[in-house]
Symmetry: C2
């Protein structure tokens, strides 16, 4: 990221073959990224040991799961996945863009 | 936050006397919150040692500073403040709502 300011619209990208991920910013203790889904695309249930994570749905609509909760998330829904909690996107019901934040960063 | 899903609209609150802050979610390694500003309100320049932070402007417009960069941020602008970097909101130019994420959490 050049400098401290960026426009997330520049990182939105859809791929008919699979859901996409983009890095927005990455530090030693925090990560910000975007996940973009075409309708019907998904993200398998997974968990991050030692790292809390949240999604903020920016546009679209998706059925999402955290632990034993499954709900339809849409623009303005914050989805909190504490460290170790299984979470994922069961299915995007529309073209959907989510901000993702994780601390510490993945990888 | 009850459960893993919440709607950030429920946390938006403006106060004519001062900018407001609301917690959305807080774990051991990650924090999510909202900052809401009436036009003319500000957040003093400050820094967090050992914690990266970002803002995502969700609505409105504000003049913001990180390090020696000052720009007008509006809906879709991601503002990245790495650990130790002085940052703040010089002035909201409209009624402005920002998502804030920090890892590890403040306090």
């Amino acid at each position: 990221m050049p400098g401290h300011f960026s426009n997330i619209a520049d990182a939105i990208h859809f791929d008919a073959a699979r859901a996409t991920k983009a890095d927005l910013a990455r530090g030693l203790t925090l990560f910000a990224g975007l996940n973009c889904f075409e309708p019907g695309q998904s993200q398998h249930i997974h968990a991050h040991r030692g790292a809390d994570k949240f999604y903020l749905v920016l546009s679209g609509k998706a059925r999402m799961t955290v632990g034993d909760e499954t709900l339809i998330a849409e623009a303005g829904t914050l989805v909190w996945a504490p460290a170790g909690a299984p979470h994922g996107v069961d299915e995007a019901l529309e073209r959907t863009v989510m901000l993702v934040s994780m601390g510490p960063p993945p990888g």
